[in-house]
Symmetry: C2
Subunit: 147 residues, 2 copies
DNA sequence: CACAGACTTGGATCCATTCCATTTCTTGAA
DNA sequence: TTCAAGAAATGGAATGGATCCAAGTCTGTG
């Protein structure tokens, strides 16, 4: 089974080996419907759906879902962590210096300097900050992950 | 006066309208010699030079120097803020997921997808995170900066 | 059904950062 | 050189996001 079309939230959870609980389903839905929500906002959204959830449970679930690859965590310098449901595609973010609003942008692959977003969504961009994540030479030659 | 060649640290401070104090000179030198240092490391470096400085003074001075454009603050998600002396040029960073080491990279302007750094310095990059800073449509049409 | 895993409650704790009131110091002018 | 204005530095307290802990309850899942 598992119609290839569009798996339900529950099926997605199961698909990555996580238990399906009301809280997690509500959390996943909340994050996907929301727009780069912070932890508090997510907790509020989940409470709207299932009545109650503790902040700790929210943190726990966010970790689990992020680790499972169902959510992505972004942390614009200067503001608390935010989460989004868009994963898998390589997209970046526009952050407003004034109000902190976050918007998605596709990666400008293939053309232009990386300073230019493929679509600036109406933002007036004054800086592009790029962080390349990976392993430094020393760490990539080390067998295990030492932290 | 002010030989165009290479202004002293003190002259640079004066040049941006800041007072010249031993602490600031030492701090600026420390950051420039160091490699993406954190606040604690900077404080330690300054203490090596001038004997003593409070953490608060370090924060205050870092703010002042950053605002003045003499330093740049970078904040890789998951680690405390770091400061560097390279300003003015548009360069980005390589961050090691394992040890947190930060290295500079020039912007890959003009060629390649932004996923590819101009020189990866030996890092094995698995992700490029781009944050475009600017003002969202709403904020850019607003006369004053409301936060 | 039984159990591992998830959730709750209620702490405590950690860390980076900021705020406060007070004192000290740099600086430019007298 | 002396002085006053105002910026900078100080110690101490406080804030806020995030994490962790332990004990007990609940609940998916095999």
């Amino acid at each position: 089974m598992t119609a290839p079309g569009k798996p339900s939230t529950a099926e997605e959870l199961r698909g990555v080996g996580l238990r399906v609980t009301a809280a997690r389903v509500a959390l996943l839905d909340t994050v996907r419907e929301g727009d780069h929500l912070g932890v508090e906002a997510i907790a509020a959204g989940v409470r709207d759906r299932v009545g109650h959830i503790s902040l700790q449970a929210v943190y726990e679930a966010l970790h689990a879902l992020t680790a499972a690859g169902l959510l992505r965590r972004i942390e614009p310098p200067g503001s608390p962590a935010r989460f989004e449901g868009r994963v898998g595609d390589n997209h970046h973010h526009l952050v407003c210096r004034s109000c902190g609003t976050v918007a998605d942008v596709d990666c400008a692959v293939g053309h232009a300097p990386c300073l230019t977003a493929s679509d600036n969504r109406g933002f007036s961009v004054d800086e592009a900050e790029v962080i390349y994540w990976g392993l430094c030479p020393a760490c990539s030659s080390t067998p295990d992950d030492r932290l």
